[in-house]
């Protein structure tokens, strides 16, 4: 065990897996000498050389398109997209190619690759350095979508993602890169995809959240406790595949559900959680399913503190269903 930031845990996961498996390569814009704009790939080029960790031209289309080709040919690419806001030039290669290669070829060709990208707000990144677009990928069959909230999960989930036989969107809560520290097992440490985590046990309300929203909800839960509401917090860890049962069990127990996320409220992954609950736990519901999300606006700069769900807004959501 060592205490690491979430960023260090990600770096550790990549190095560990690159030592285990020489098919693994890391590339993207500025990931080499510079070690990434956040430092996630720091010193990887020094240790593994330019053949296994290299910079690319400024084309996300090229980064993902070549990654797909590498994966089809048997390599294990880890492609970094500098900010999730900049992934769209590669959207066609992700949804039309990576996600569909196994299916459309009848399983003759597969696409085991990881697309790593920092997402979310909270760093004064404004309009184009703050977006959370996990919903696009969760709606795309063939992709897996993983979002860690702790350093240990960051390492364990990234190692599983690299070993996975299918394309994984690995979205990193950039706001937590350095602000979240924790104990991380050294060497081999694998957290399976598809198994959620009970962050906190409670009896009155289930709050589903992930990534940088977990600490926010934990803070709110302490406040709620003071007002006599017992909060159970569930972090699915992988949005696809989703640990539905863990969420449904909790809601059947508490009878109430709130979903907290940064992305625009509508047609989001939060909507999916609400829909699952409305379909499969309707009999246990004692109040409306509340979504506390970003607003249905593009991401602002000066008013970011009002856009991002904070403890106050989580509490507002909790009260809405508790006092219904």
């Amino acid at each position: 065990m060592a205490t690491m930031t979430l960023l260090e845990a990600l770096n550790d996961a990549m190095r560990t897996e690159m030592r285990n498996d020489d098919r693994v390569v890391v590339f993207g814009e500025d990931v080499g000498k510079k070690g990434g704009v956040f430092g996630t790939t720091a010193n990887i080029q020094d240790e593994f050389g330019v053949d296994r960790c290299f910079d690319t031209p400024l084309s996300e289309c090229g980064i993902i398109g070549t990654a797909v080709g590498m994966a089809v040919y048997g390599a294990r690419p880890i492609a970094e997209i500098q900010f999730l806001d900049f992934i769209y030039p590669a959207f066609d290669q992700i949804v039309s190619e990576a996600a569909k290669m196994r299916y459309r070829s009848g399983g003759e060709y597969t696409c085991p690759m990881v697309i790593r990208s920092p997402y979310g707000g909270g760093i004064r990144g404004g309009h184009y350095h703050s977006q959370s677009s996990e919903a696009y990928f969760c709606h795309t069959p063939g992709l897996k979508v993983v979002i860690p909230s702790t350093p240990a999960d960051a390492k364990g989930l990234l190692m599983s993602s690299i070993r996975d036989e299918d394309p994984v969107m690995f979205l990193e809560p950039k706001r937590s890169y350095r602000s979240i520290k924790g104990e991380v097992p050294e060497g081999e440490h694998v957290v399976p995809l598809g198994k959620g985590r009970v962050v906190r046990e409670g009896t009155d309300i289930t709050v589903v959240c992930y990534g940088a929203m977990v600490p926010t909800v934990e803070k709110a839960a302490v406040e709620a406790e003071k007002q006599g509401r017992s909060i159970e917090i569930i972090d699915p860890r992988s949005l696809v595949p989703l640990d539905e049962e863990l969420i449904l069990e909790s809601v059947r127990k508490t009878g109430r559900c709130v979903v907290v996320y940064e992305a625009p409220k509508s047609c989001s992954f939060g909507s999916e959680i609400a829909a699952i609950v409305a379909e499969k736990a309707i009999g246990s519901l004692e109040g409306p399913v509340i979504r506390v999300g970003g607003f249905d606006t593009p991401f602002p700069y000066s008013l970011e503190h009002l856009y991002m769900p904070d403890a106050r807004r989580v509490l507002q959501g909790i009260e809405k269903t508790y006092n219904w």
Binding site: T56, P57, C61, A75, E97, S105, P241
Partner: protein, 368 residues
């Protein structure tokens, strides 16, 4: 330099001696038979579509020299990232007609399990990577595979195909640019057949040639007569050898013509000039090769007819067999989304199965 057009077989069948790649009689016969087989396959395919026996078809009439000549420059261990208009390549690589026709029918034996429209083949046995409909996406992929091979240190060469329309795609730009930067062992073959459905080359780019686009990526660009199989072979062979020996990528423009309509859904007469069409029809690459082989004394009148007949017979047998095969089982719809189906997919299949009492006959065990 890129403006010059490489031509070896004259219209009359004479070859420009200095440029002759000196292929053996056997090689020439293999190339010829593959071109004829591709033509016959295309004729049968469209006929089946017209008879309503398959849902769609797309021909490569007039482009047989362009794709067979280039593919012949590759080793069996080399890989193709094809577009959708190279039917001769699977034939050259020995994929059985039945396997090809199974894909048209999307039946239970189709290598891609009935998930794509006709002619979107995937033939792992031939290193022929699954064809995608979105134009251009195979280009960056071919570059990526070539980057991986080079890093791994093996000597595989990759060839990818695109049309003139494909040169406008995002992937053309990134695929060639990355290949230039990493000096990847990949050959980009642009089959310039003058049309992208109803859009002529002049509406596709203001560039005088496709070959000169190579300049933008620091790689050689070569322009060849795409109806001259020796010219196509020679140019691609040089490119393949250069790629294999570490010399990096090449862009090859094969100047040819789409004799057929774009596909079974299209009628080119509505937008295409008859004279242009007639002029190109006279330049048939198969006839041109026959004139050369006749001179060389390895072909005679009548050979074509018998070859046509035997190929057609083989294809007809394949069609009979393919047509008789069942559709893929219902459960196959939920397979290959991931290596292992998610709980959600298992539940969805369960629901569908419960619904379809009558079809229960073809329900097997759902894989766990």
């Amino acid at each position: 330099m890129t403006a010059e057009l490489l031509k070896i077989i004259e219209e009359d069948g004479n070859v420009q001696k200095g440029r002759d790649p000196h292929l053996s009689d056997d090689d020439l016969l293999t190339i010829y038979r593959t071109m004829v087989a591709a033509r016959t396959l295309d004729e049968r395919g469209l006929a089946l579509q017209r008879q309503g026996r398959i849902g769609f078809y797309l021909q490569a009439l007039g482009q047989e020299a362009s794709h067979v000549g280039s593919a012949f420059a590759m080793k069996d261990s080399d890989w193709f990232f094809p577009a959708y208009r190279q039917p001769g390549i699977p034939i050259l690589r020995g994929v059985p007609y039945e396997t090809i026709v199974d894909e048209w029918y999307g039946n239970a034996s189709d290598t891609s399990k009935g998930r794509q429209m006709p002619v979107h083949y995937s033939f792992r046995q031939a290193n022929f990577v699954s064809i995608s409909s979105p134009i251009g996406t195979q280009i960056t992929q071919a570059t990526g595979a070539a980057m991986a091979a080079k890093a791994r240190g093996d000597d595989t060469v990759f060839m990818t195909y695109m049309g003139d329309g494909g040169t406008s795609s995002n992937d053309f730009h990134s695929g060639l640019n990355f290949a230039g930067v990493y000096k990847s062992p990949v050959v980009f073959v642009c089959e310039n057949n003058q049309w992208a459905i109803s859009v002529p080359l002049s509406g596709q780019t203001a560039s005088e040639t496709i070959a000169q686009k190579a300049t933008a990526y620091g790689m050689p660009g070569v322009r060849v007569d795409g109806n001259d199989v020796l010219a196509v072979y020679r140019a691609t062979k040089e490119a393949v050898d250069r790629a294999r020996s570490g010399g990096g990528p090449t862009l090859i423009e094969t100047v040819t013509y789409r004799i057929s309509s774009h596909s079974s859904s299209d009628d080119a007469d509505r937008y295409r000039d008859k004279d242009e069409f007639e002029a190109w029809k006279k330049k048939d690459p198969i006839a041109r090769l026959e004139r050369y082989m006749l001179q060389r004394g390895i072909w005679k009148k009548g050979d074509r007819e018998s070859l046509d007949e035997s190929v057609k017979a083989e294809i007809n047998v394949a069609i009979k067999k393919a047509e008789a095969k069942p559709k893929p089982a219902m459960e196959s719809m939920f397979q290959d989304v991931y290596m292992n189906p998610t709980q959600q997919l298992r539940d969805q299949f369960d629901e569908l199965r419960r619904l379809d009492g009558p079809e229960s006959s073809d329900i097997g065990e759902f894989p766990l």
